[in-house]
């Protein structure tokens, strides 16, 4: 009757059953990969929303900035609330400008350098906020297949031990083990593929936003530099006349 038992189909092969039949290493790998996939998608959703928000904010700020409004007024309205993107760069530069002029700066060169530094700092902070957590996507994209493969190798090892234990090379003995082992690789790929695609897309988006902000910073720096020259020049001329 042994042959009859061996010929019976290898039990339930649904995904849930495969998960429960797996050994603890494979289970751990699968749970980890599921967690990685959840976190990956959380980051993807979050970043996509954040970039859309940022793009809208940049458009609105540029519109306001180039509308001919007085920079003083703009600064006053912006400094009262929390700003992001170009607004933050603008506020940082204006704050430095105001501080220097309120105390009566002497050296225009030093002022220009300080303003640039402040803008660089604000830009770096903004970029960090934009690109934060993208590293996790890169890690998942590159390592999840390997983690899944690890689970598969361990699972297949187990199923080969099962062959040795049952002294039968019947496919019904081997198949469930291999199926559950392959589930780990499937989950690894399932986590890795969206992570890689999203990482490339989000990095490109972040780079584009960063370039826009950098361009604004340069432009604003040029405007301020002109202003400094204009403010410093009459004074020196007056000194000459005096």
């Amino acid at each position: 009757m042994e042959s009859v038992a061996l010929a019976a189909p290898g039990g339930d092969l649904s995904i849930w059953a495969l998960f429960w039949q797996a050994g603890w290493v494979v289970k751990l790998v699968m749970i980890g990969l599921l967690g990685a996939s959840i976190w990956t998608w959380a980051i993807i959703v979050d970043k996509t929303l954040a970039y859309a928000r940022m793009r809208r904010a940049l458009n609105r700020f540029e519109q306001v900035f180039w509308s001919g409004q007085s920079l003083e007024e703009l600064y006053r309205s912006l400094s009262e609330r929390k700003t992001t993107g170009m607004g933050a760069i603008f506020v940082a530069a204006m704050r430095e400008w105001k501080k220097s002029f309120e105390k009566g700066a002497r050296s225009p060169l030093g002022l220009q350098t300080r303003i640039d530094k402040a803008m660089d700092l604000a830009l770096a902070r903004e970029m960090e906020r934009l690109e934060g957590k993208l590293g996790f996507l890169a890690s998942v994209g590159s390592s999840a297949p390997f983690i899944g493969l690890f689970g598969t190798v361990v699972g297949i090892m187990t199923s080969f031990q099962a062959i040795a234990g049952s002294k039968s090379t019947n496919l019904a003995v081997v198949a469930p083990g291999i199926a559950e082992a392959l589930l780990a690789t499937a989950m690894g790929l399932l986590a890795a593929i969206p992570a890689v695609i999203a990482y490339n897309k989000l990095t490109a988006d972040a780079g584009r936003l960063g370039a826009r902000m950098e361009g604004f910073a340069d432009e604003f720096s040029a405007i301020l530099s002109r202003q400094i020259d204009e403010k410093v020049a009459p004074r020196t001329r007056a000194e000459e006349y005096a």
């Binding site: 849930w16 959840i38 959380a42 959703v45 970043k47 929303l49």
Partner: protein
């Protein structure tokens, strides 16, 4: 971040839920049953008895083949008959028995015995032989509708003529082995042959007139039995019983049984791995002798009594046979017949395994 995490968890839960329900167990493969006799279920007796039945049916007290299908009647048929197709002409009364060529003639041909009256003999005698043939091979002497369709009347006269020419050809005395007749001989070739054969035919007739006609009939009957041109086909035996476990034919006895040796052989065969990679592995026949104790376990080591020497492959084959014997023990055999299987010689012949 909270929104993203919530969205992600929801998405994953939904996907997993769909996967659990829609990607549940895959459909079972519909695999055809392997044709094998479930030896474990069949009782072990001293004689192997195979009863006619179905190889894949369940065991029943009386093995029986699968019921045959009744031929369906032709719809809108006009003429009454047994044929498969509705034909205008009336059914031919009976299949004309025709002498069919065989590879070698019976020995009787060595004696110069031309038949004096071929024509009546050829037409009359085979009719009863045809009937006896049917009676001998088939249990239910039902008329076979198939035969009525196939007869083609064209070759018959030709063959009859041929037979005539052939018998006329026989020389008067010398025991010349008969040439194999060529059935569709062209007309041009026939005429001179007959002319040439006239004189010896006359002589032969004169000589063999005294021979008894009975002998001749017997010869024709033998020829009719020997010359079976028609393939046996699928058989015409009808069965109405429910199919039960059994073989293709009955070998005698009342039940389906296997002998102790069959059981032992089946058990050993399960463990035998033929050295397939070897060149000419089909010829690696090995015989081993071993002793079993009453519990069915192998006592000592199996002894190679033939084969297994010479090349390393032969030694490997002998070793594989020995392993099979040791690995499959203890054997399940009826203890009360211990004396019958205490000492066993098993011949391992890989021919069947390829």
């Amino acid at each position: 971040m909270k929104a993203g995490l919530a969205t992600s968890v929801t998405l994953h839960a939904a996907l997993l839920g769909i996967g659990l329900f829609s990607l549940s167990a895959p459909r079972a493969y519909e695999v055809a049953d392997v044709e094998s006799l479930p030896v474990d279920i069949i009782p072990v007796e001293s004689l192997t008895q195979i009863q006619e039945g179905e190889k894949q049916a369940a065991v029943a007290p009386r093995p029986a083949p699968a019921p045959t299908r009744r031929p369906d009647p032709v719809e809108n048929a006009q003429k009454v008959g047994e044929a498969d197709t509705d034909l205008k002409p009336p059914p031919t009364p009976d299949a004309k028995p025709r002498p069919v060529e065989s590879a070698s003639e019976p020995k009787a041909a060595e004696r110069p015995q031309p038949r004096p009256e071929e024509k009546p003999a050829a037409e009359e005698v085979p009719a009863p032989t045809g009937e006896t043939q049917v009676a001998a091979t088939e249990r239910t002497p039902e008329p076979q509708p198939r035969r009525e369709i196939t007869p083609d009347p064209v070759p018959d006269p030709l063959v009859a003529e041929n037979a005539e020419a052939e018998s006329l050809n026989l020389p008067p005395t010398a025991p010349v082995p008969q040439a194999r007749p060529q059935p569709p001989r062209p007309q041009t070739a026939k005429a001179p042959e007959q002319k040439r054969a006239e004189e010896p035919a006359k002589a032969a007739q004169a000589q063999t007139r005294s021979e008894p006609k009975k002998n001749e009939e017997l010869l024709d009957q033998v020829a009719a039995l020997l010359n079976k041109e028609e393939a046996s086909g699928g058989g015409a035996k009808r069965s109405q019983q429910e199919a039960a476990l059994g073989g293709r034919e009955t070998t005698g006895g009342e039940k389906l049984t296997q002998s102790e040796m069959d059981a032992l052989r089946a058990q050993i065969q399960r463990c035998w791995n033929v050295p397939v990679g070897a060149l000419d592995a089909e010829n690696l026949r090995v015989s081993l002798k071993f002793r079993l104790d009453p519990s069915g376990a192998v006592e000592g080591s199996p002894q190679v009594i033939s084969g297994g020497d010479g090349s390393s492959i032969a030694r490997a084959a002998a070793e594989s046979a020995r392993r099979a014997i040791l690995q499959c023990g203890p054997y399940d055999l009826p203890a009360e017949k211990y004396s019958a299987w205490a000492d066993v010689i098993v011949h391992f012949d890989p021919t069947d395994m390829f």
